[in-house]
Symmetry: C2
Subunit: 315 residues, 2 copies
């Protein structure tokens, strides 16, 4: 039997067929057309899935179900996309629409929860029973796994770590609150801080590195910090401090076995993660008295959205 | 069959016999002698329990077990009090000591977790499957109940909400971090703020109310605010803001069905809780899109420590 996983993003929709043991093989991808009626994008997706099933010679009887990960606030109990800011979807009964069109069972979840589920079932979940997955991208996503099971909150609307405070009355966050972790430790926040730092220091190496990439991205301060650019080091240190303070909040709240980092910024790997470990070790409340929390990079990485969505149907 | 529940506090040890359905009847109480060897206090406790069992004509065969709640960092898996700041206990194998002395099975847990367990089994847990219990006292304790079960973190050392940040680099907290919620929203913090406000405003009604009680307690600003003392109103508003911002963090993290408040400050009742509800409704991330979180006062209240400790043995 097979499980179809679909990962809906702000710019593209990716999918693929997954086996019971979490192996992804045949895949597909389509762009999301912005500012279009949701129905049009979904109609295209349905056509693409039907073509994919046909092209790869699957039989519908072989497909247990279609799992879909969507960024935003998802009512997974009722299969409704309550609100997705990136997609401009609002109160969309996605499960029903897809089931009616495809004639297959459908389940939907938040994209970060899907990534955490993939890690729980087929990644570091083999090592850790209880962990937090933090996705460091445009925003900060998160998933909670307790004793091997996802905890998604009432109607699947919890686990929004990015929107807990770092600084009361601090930076304006896209969610409406002021001072959320996301406003300090997302890639978006780091890029903003980098641009300000560059404007203040025209002699920074970051100018040269940005030119190489054609834009100021979150990679710029990390690459410049490795080259010992003092302004980039300051940026990275502040980023590490903000992210680590956020992580310590979750340590004290959950005391999980591990925090697993994924998303673009996690790709900075040990250069970043070793700094986070050091900071947390120095500042964790009661660290000497509590079991330490492992801080590690996701094992599954890029495909976790698709695999985790499919895993909604895998026991 | 009966279940013995013991609630160890910083100033007294309270205990009582509990039935399978959570009814507390015969009780005992003894003072904790400060700065004494932990063994001396425990020896006294053992003698008292033996006397209690004898005086009330219980048979040891009727007692399923002795549950004990202790403030601090508890390794409930191994039955060790890792650290209790109030009691000055450190790495104390409490479970083993009591089992050897009493000849009865013993389980230990954090006192806030015990209170949450009592509420889950015999209080508002009938209404809410997933909730957070927040204890507003000298410090801020907390317990997490998910689908009717306690979540206490790795080795039972999680659920320390009081030590997640409200303000990075903010007020010094007793735990070593700077800016924890406990440093803003505990009774201790409120009393500190009240004293400062009183020094600044000799005309405040809070002077008269403090005289009545013989000390500045957390009740003083609440009572003065009800009498429309402007300085007290400012204090209460700031307290409500700090506590509510902390609660919203947990809403976004857990999206539980309810947050249940207990401890001394929760005794302020609807005067306080209605203000918290209003603040949270105005500032909750995505409140219009997410299921609302009920904010209510504990049903069990004062006895929850004893009943919850006993409940460690009740299926």
């Amino acid at each position: 039997m097979f499980y179809l996983g679909v990962d809906i993003g702000g710019t593209s929709i990716k999918g693929g067929m997954v086996t019971k043991d979490g192996k992804l093989f045949d895949t597909f991808k389509m762009p999301v057309i912005k500012n279009e009626e949701p129905e049009k994008n979904i109609k295209k997706l349905v056509t693409l899935i039907e073509k994919f099933i046909k092209d790869y010679n699957y039989k519908k009887e072989e497909i247990v179900g279609v799992g879909v990960g969507v960024p935003g606030i998802i009512d997974s109990t009722h299969g409704i996309v309550t609100y997705s800011g990136n997609l401009k979807w609002f109160d969309l009964p996605l499960k029903k629409i897809l089931e009616d069109s495809l004639g297959l069972p459908v389940k939907i979840t938040n994209d970060a929860n899907a990534a955490a589920l993939a890690e729980a079932k087929f990644g570091l979940g083999n090592k850790y029973k209880s962990f937090l997955m933090i996705t460091l991208g445009t925003g900060i996503g998160s998933g909670i796994v307790i004793d091997g099971k996802m905890y998604a909150g009432n109607f699947g609307k919890g686990a929004e770590f990015g929107h807990s405070l770092l600084v009361m009355d601090g930076r304006q966050c896209s969610c409406g609150r002021k001072g959320c972790l996301e406003a300090y430790a997302s890639a978006t926040a780091l890029v903003k801080d980098t641009k300000i730092m560059m404007e203040l220091h025209k002699d920074s190496l970051m100018w040269k590195i940005s030119e190489k990439y054609g834009a100021v991205s979150a990679r710029v301060p990390f690459e410049a910090a490795k080259e010992r650019d003092p302004y980039a080091i300051e940026l990275v240190d502040y980023y590490v401090k903000c992210l680590s303070e956020g992580l310590i909040n979750y340590f004290n709240t959950f005391r999980p076995e591990a925090v697993i980092l994924s998303g673009g910024i996690a790709e900075e790997g040990e250069f970043l993660i070793s700094k986070i470990r050091n900071y947390c070790q120095e500042h964790d409340y009661g660290i000497k008295l509590c079991p330490p929390v492992d801080i590690v990079k996701s094992l599954i990485g890029y495909d976790s959205g698709k695999i985790g969505a499919a895993a909604l149907f895998i026991d």
